[in-house]
């Protein structure tokens, strides 16, 4: 069996939105996941010094078997080279430049057989989003960045005034009607939300709890449901991405109508079906949402509808 394509999370957002902080936050939560971080440049020391174990030219080796490479203007070249330069990677974080259009980067991934787009995550600085969205030069770029997002992390909510935060919410809602929005401080979004669960359908990892901040466990909720075999998986996925269900992230190991197991990945309105690992025992789906927004009853109803 050929290797599954590597999932790639595209991390976009304008300068100062918190992309690098998010990357560092995810690296600290990696907990055994081997992440490859691709950054546009090493210029502003993108990685916390404490995480760096060594440097070999354009590759930084990081704690826990993770790596960081810069790609400059040759993203495709870096992606082509990555599998031969670094072995055993589980997930790629692709941090775009502040003016890049994450949607265009995502389209480029579709050309590369060894990768699949997992999600486009765009960060927004709650203090400046509304102003930037009317900037003489950058307005259309900012709006196009949001429009490509599956997940918007509205960041720095602890620093922004109520008025700025409110204006940022309106800007994003207008620019990215299909994106799920999560409000965070210091880019502290749980890894299971941003990158998906590593080992679902077990319970989400402890990473839901974010040290040093309001306990993430009080901000997020999750549930596990059993999915009987014989499901039309694409149809199920379409129902699960209905925004009224409140699912930010879900992962399931599910059997299709022929009994063959698949992995279903959901982030916001985007879903993807992979072949399941050979030893997978299908039947469960785990979903994460914001506390108070994840509608467990509606999720269960969407399953029931499936079997009728």
């Amino acid at each position: 069996m050929s290797r599954l394509p590597l999932p790639v999370t595209v991390i976009g957002g304008y300068l100062g939105a918190g992309k690098t902080t998010l990357v560092n936050h995810l690296l600290r939560q990696a907990a055994g996941r081997r992440l490859a971080v691709l950054v546009n440049d090493f210029g502003a020391l993108p990685i916390d010094a404490a995480l760096i174990e060594g440097r070999d030219g354009e590759v930084l080796s990081l704690a826990g078997g993770c790596v960081c490479c810069s790609y400059g203007s040759d993203l495709v070249g870096a992606l082509l080279d990555l599998p031969s330069r670094v072995l055993g990677i589980d997930h790629v974080l692709l941090e775009t430049s502040g003016v890049a259009l994450p949607g265009a980067v995502a389209a480029t991934l579709s050309l590369l057989a060894g990768y699949r787009l997992d999600a486009v995550v765009v960060l927004a600085d709650a203090e400046t989003t509304a102003t930037r969205a009317t900037d003489l030069y950058m307005a259309d770029t900012i709006v196009r960045q949001f429009a490509a997002a599956d997940l918007v992390l509205l960041n720095k909510i602890d620093l922004a005034s109520a008025a700025a935060l409110d204006a940022a919410r309106r800007t994003i809602a207008e620019a990215a009607p299909r994106a799920r929005i999560v409000e965070v401080a210091r880019s502290a979004a749980p890894i299971d939300v941003v990158l998906g669960m590593a080992r679902a359908p077990a319970a989400p990892s402890v990473a839901l709890s974010t040290p040093g901040h309001v306990d993430a466990a009080t901000l997020y909720d999750w549930l596990r449901v059993e999915v009987p075999p014989g499901e039309d998986l694409a149809g199920l996925a379409e129902r699960l991405v209905d925004p009224t269900l409140g699912i930010l992230r879900a992962k399931g190991l599910l059997a299709d109508r022929t009994g063959r197991p698949h992995a279903l990945h959901i982030v916001g309105a985007r879903w993807h079906l992979d072949d399941a690992p050979a030893d997978a025992r299908p039947g469960d789906l785990v979903a994460i949402g914001l506390r108070g927004r994840l509608d467990a009853a509606a999720v269960r109803r969407s399953l029931v509808k499936a079997s009728t």
Binding site: Y14, G43, L111, L112, D140
Partner: protein
């Protein structure tokens, strides 16, 4: 200490104190003086060299925006619309139809060895062949077993055959990418637009990234081409300049027979503003006479014909969405500020007028933080700037290097599609730049268009497009202004005008040696001035020997 006095039919000095002379005296690679034989006699014993007695001498031409990769591209098969001279002096005929392109490819294919060797071409420009796009089927007729790739003249599109798509894993349904158009069969047509799609297939068809980065034979061929075009100082405008490439360039340009001064700018990429300026300072210390380092090239936006340039309202004539920013203003401003603080020269690529405006804003802010009297920051291409922007450039002490060649090759497309008739007429506004007091250079951007400052001067003087339209009559400049622009003008933008760009006492003995007199041949014929070769640093280089 030997002194050589060259007698010439006419010497155009660009020195207003004595614009013309018949003799020029050279010692130690520098000019003692230009004048009459009698005037030069006072310098002492000299050898009179008569070999240029029937030639016209000009200051060695300065190409202010080219890339040494022009030398590299000649390793591939030239398939452009217009005749083009290679570094060895062979003129490759232009192809006037797609059939002619295919025939050229078949001839080249027949000379290749095993099927593992790709057929690699460059210079393709299908806009001259009507509406029809070139597809993989066209190239499959040349070979379906060998990978084939041909770069467009713009450098922004690559056409490939089915085999190349197959090798890159792209001959499959389900591709959804704006740079990879699909045919009725749901498979890619073979046209690949933009760097991402091009890189993916490029290395299967011979466009090897490593070769392009550090190509010693290419640098030598570029230099030979310079001799053929009368160029004695040429820019290599956007090099990443890793240390191994610098070492190669220092060694090659240092050879006693290397005929050109290369000015290589460090491309701003994959570094912070502070780091790129530190690197520039470090590179400046490694400069030699024939390899000048220490300036920076930044990019604000993309290209107009690729619809990736940033335009102000009302945007593209055909309604295409606005283009892409390559560097945000916060970052460009920091590059400028650090560079001003360390006397590092920055040239900035701006194509659309919004990108130009942004660069002007950034420099204005940076100058407040780090005042500088003689920075000579230069906008490169700057094709769509309007009169108000030229006035701002003048006030901010900026230079501009415009792109009249582009006007010839793609002016018709700008007229019909990208910016529309009115703005197409103001593009590459050489006359406005001069009238506004903005120091002006003009360029080829070789290999995008052919190296040849006299051709570039012809474009600026006539503003003719490929279809024969005169586009923007009011922006034409005089032959005299154009000749000054391709010598002193370009030298000024590189801060080399004290050394080169005119034939006068103390400057480098750099001459373009011409068979015809560019002031007498007529504005219409400026591009046809015959070029014998060059003198560079007092060394004589005949094009025929190159």
């Amino acid at each position: 200490m030997t002194t050589t006095i060259y007698r010439a039919r006419r010497i155009l000095t660009m020195n207003p104190a004595r614009p013309e002379a018949t003799h020029v005296a050279v010692r130690d690679g520098r000019i003692l003086g230009a004048g009459t034989a009698e005037e030069l006699a006072g310098w002492g014993a000299a050898t009179l060299d008569e070999r240029f007695a029937d030639k016209v001498l000009m200051p060695g031409l300065v190409e202010g925006h080219s890339h040494a990769s022009e030398g590299t591209f000649w390793r591939y098969v030239y398939l452009g619309r217009f005749d083009r001279m290679d570094p060895e002096g062979k003129v490759w005929p232009g192809a006037d139809s797609i059939d002619a392109v295919i025939a050229g490819m078949k001839r080249a294919e027949a000379t290749l060895g095993g099927l593992d060797t790709p057929l690699t071409g460059w210079g393709l420009d299908p806009i001259y062949y009507g509406e029809r796009r070139v597809t993989r089927r066209d190239f499959d007729a040349v070979s379906s077993a060998r990978a084939i790739g041909v770069m467009h003249a713009s450098g922004h599109i690559l056409n490939v055959n089915s085999r190349a798509l197959e090798l890159a894993g792209l001959l499959r349904p389900g591709i959804n990418h704006p740079g990879v158009p699909l045919g009725a069969d749901g498979l890619p047509t073979g046209e690949l637009k933009g760097p991402d799609a091009m890189t993916l297939v490029g290395h299967h068809v011979g466009f090897d990234r490593e070769v392009l980065a550090n190509d010693e034979p290419g640098l030598r061929r570029f230099a030979r081409l310079c001799v053929r075009k009368g160029v004695t100082t040429a820019t290599d405008l956007a090099n990443l300049l890793p240390q191994d490439a610098v070492a190669m360039m220092l060694r090659v340009t240092g050879e006693s027979t290397f005929p050109v001064r290369i000015v290589s700018l460090r491309r701003f990429q994959a570094m912070s503003p502070q780091e790129v300026v530190e690197r520039a300072v470090e590179l400046r210390r490694q400069s030699s006479d024939r390899l000048r380092l220490g300036a920076v090239k930044a990019f604000a936006d993309g290209s107009i014909q690729g619809f990736s340039a940033r335009l102000r309202w009302p945007g593209y004539y055909n309604g295409a969405p606005n283009g892409l920013w390559y560097t945000p203003p916060e970052v460009l401003r920091e590059v400028y500020r650090h560079a001003l603080e360390h006397d590092v020269l920055v040239h900035t690529h701006t194509n659309g007028d919004e990108a130009t405006e942004m660069a002007l804003d950034c420099l204005e802010a940076a100058l407040k933080a780090a005042p500088s009297r003689d920075h000579r920051f230069t906008l490169q291409h700057c094709q769509l700037a309007d009169a108000a922007q030229f006035r701002r450039m003048a006030r901010l002490g900026m230079c501009v290097n415009l792109f009249p060649n582009h006007h010839f090759y793609w002016g018709d497309q700008h007229y019909a599609t990208t910016v529309g008739p009115e703005r197409a007429e103001r593009m590459n506004a050489c006359a406005t730049a001069l009238a506004s007091g903005v120091p002006l250079a003009i360029h080829s951007d070789a290999p995008v268009t052919p190296l040849g400052p006299l051709f570039t001067a012809w474009c600026a003087v006539n503003r003719r497009t490929a279809s024969g339209r005169t586009l923007g009559t009011h922006e034409r400049i005089s032959v005299a202004d154009a000749l000054r622009t391709i010598t002193l003008g370009a030298a000024y933008t590189l801060k080399l005008d004290g050394e080169v760009g005119s034939i006068e006492c103390g400057k480098r003995a750099d001459f373009a040696v011409l068979n015809d007199d560019p002031l007498a041949i007529g504005a219409e014929n400026l591009k046809d001035v015959g070029i014998w070769g060059t003198v560079q640093g007092g060394r004589v280089f005949a094009a025929g020997d190159a």
